[in-house]
Symmetry: C2
Amino acid sequence: MKQSLLFTRTQKTAPKDEVSKNAQLLMRAGYIHKEMAGVYAYLPLGIRVLERIKKIVREEMNALGAQELIMTALQRKELWERTDRWDDEKVDVWFKSTLKSGGDVGFGWSHEEPITDMMRQYLSSYRDLPAYVYQFQTKLRNELRAKSGIMRGREFVMKDMYSYCADEAKHKEIYDATTKAYLKVFERVGLGDRTFLTFASGGAFTQFSHEFQTLTDAGEDVIFVHRAKKIAVNKEVMNPEVLAQLGLKESELEEVKAAEVGNIFSFGGTKSEQLDLKFKDESGAEKSVILGSYGIGITRLMGVIVEIFADEKGIVWPEAVSPFPVHLIALAGGNKDIEGEAQRIYELLRDNGIEALYDDRDVRAGEKFADADLIGIPTRLIVSEKTVAAGSVEMISRKNGVGTMVPESELVKRLVG
Amino acid sequence: MKQSLLFTRTQKTAPKDEVSKNAQLLMRAGYIHKEMAGVYAYLPLGIRVLERIKKIVREEMNALGAQELIMTALQRKELWERTDRWDDEKVDVWFKSTLKSGGDVGFGWSHEEPITDMMRQYLSSYRDLPAYVYQFQTKLRNELRAKSGIMRGREFVMKDMYSYCADEAKHKEIYDATTKAYLKVFERVGLGDRTFLTFASGGAFTQFSHEFQTLTDAGEDVIFVHRAKKIAVNKEVMNPEVLAQLGLKESELEEVKAAEVGNIFSFGGTKSEQLDLKFKDESGAEKSVILGSYGIGITRLMGVIVEIFADEKGIVWPEAVSPFPVHLIALAGGNKDIEGEAQRIYELLRDNGIEALYDDRDVRAGEKFADADLIGIPTRLIVSEKTVAAGSVEMISRKNGVGTMVPESELVKRLVG
């Protein structure tokens, strides 16, 4: 895409009321727009990053055998009353409104209840189980405070998956497979080495739930990590008994701040009982379906990636989630020949399936470099008098600034390979 | 995808409280789930149809040069007060709620206001214009009645585009280009011959707006069509003066029911003035930006397609929006050889990039055919003892029931060609 056509522009400063680094950088670079605290629109560059993250998550969910669907924002009061989660005293993040036709309506902050209720139509026999479904849903949560940019929003995108199993053995199998799939997702987006499977509170249903915590000072959680074993314990459940149970020694753990990018959770049969999701087993006996719940914060993940990799000049995207693989920069200074060469390289890339953001603007080199640093595309290609004279293109890494001259004939191979 | 793994099942009857044909069929076939009146979830088959429609619309919007973004559901009261559209007396479909941190908040039933406000950050000079952006957004509208299935929802997906131009000439150019792009969209989804560019009320800003009306008895509008000229006039503006102005004779028009699948609309400079979106022209003079608004109801389009093409046996998808191009049906009756052949055909299709819904279930032929009729995939492939003996596959059109034996060696060519 030609940068001259992109309607967004970079900005030197972020609005004063924005305190988080991720939102400041993303707003300045033109990825997001702040509608109100904790509520952000995603502009053309931003939507590209979101779609790349979603694609990775979707591939791993499909590989598990999960089926994609999309539930609704509008929620029935009576459903949430049955599980005692309608009352504001019980759930303090509801947005609620009134139907013109009469009655209260809620806005989806979570979707276990409607998905489980919907499943009553399809799951009635052991033959129908297991079933697992997922969605990318915009969640609405009436947070009192929202100061972490896109890491904690009042409106945000979550991938949530739900599994329905006949017994605990099958549930455990899917739970463990999903754990592996989640670790693969975080590996693929570039957070593998700093994301820890973390033992956390299991609530009313199990002793533990499992969180996926990524080490960052911007995180709101405190966890104790065991780097060698690549696991962690959330501070909320950290005590000598738990450590003994997990075979961990306190002296081997390190207290760090982290952001929860995913979590997985067992509901046992409780929610199915409340919502009357029963099935008949092989002997004809009626049983409650075992429910598991699995979430990844898609927009939060984008924020965490910005927080972790950004440097003093701007954003640094891992290749897997960058809005474009390549930022092509023409330094023509009005020289039509150089402009023509840059255009030719742009078309060469396009014809080889490599999408570039192409800075064809008539602005000075310093401004182009500063913008490119802020936008953070991992690979930069420079076309200038110097490179054209050498029959090459200069390839510069955003991460470490190292540049090399690449002969034009080798360019596509170097980028694809 | 193997049908035995699909968690949805077909149903013989639709819920009694559902009166619209589109929702009845889509619910029975497992495409959608009704959460409440006018609020539907999209299940695995349904999400596939939606994505195919969105892909066609996205391609045509990108071809225009429009840039995709995604705004927010949560809306600022003060923004809508400035255009006098916050008050329930003025806009009767608002869902509103209260922020925990204080103050009212609305839920997006439309997005002209926030997009135009956001654009103030990026459009300040004639050099920044024109700009046009679009989104696929879930709109929330507090409709008093919702009885048309997915054709009029309280929660529905719309593609909305907004154009920002320096003057009326450029605005007219984009308006006309978008008109052509819209007609192409309706052509591509299979509604070309029955969708009419329709003159409708222009509201406070222009004499006319333009609607795209698709002929169907399930529609809520009445229009007067001129079949030869392929245009129509909405009943709401139909009078002798308008006819004279458009050069139409009443005797040549036919009164019909239709569904509005798209509309385009000029706001002139009014909304930009209200929201303070100004730009400096070549002479440095400050002017208001000219705003155009362009919508296509994505979920409504899906409903209209069902209404129009369905027959007494179920849904009939046009190829362009079918959840799968092919429904492969194994009639093995327990014969392992036939099962093996069907599996081999499934893999042959997959290896050639043809996604099939593969009915590998152990149920009788009559049930498979009835389900396939209801689900409505345009091309059915039968693998049975008879077809295997002939070294062929039977290819049956869902639309007219005509079947032909196709030698296996020609199958892929016939499907792709």
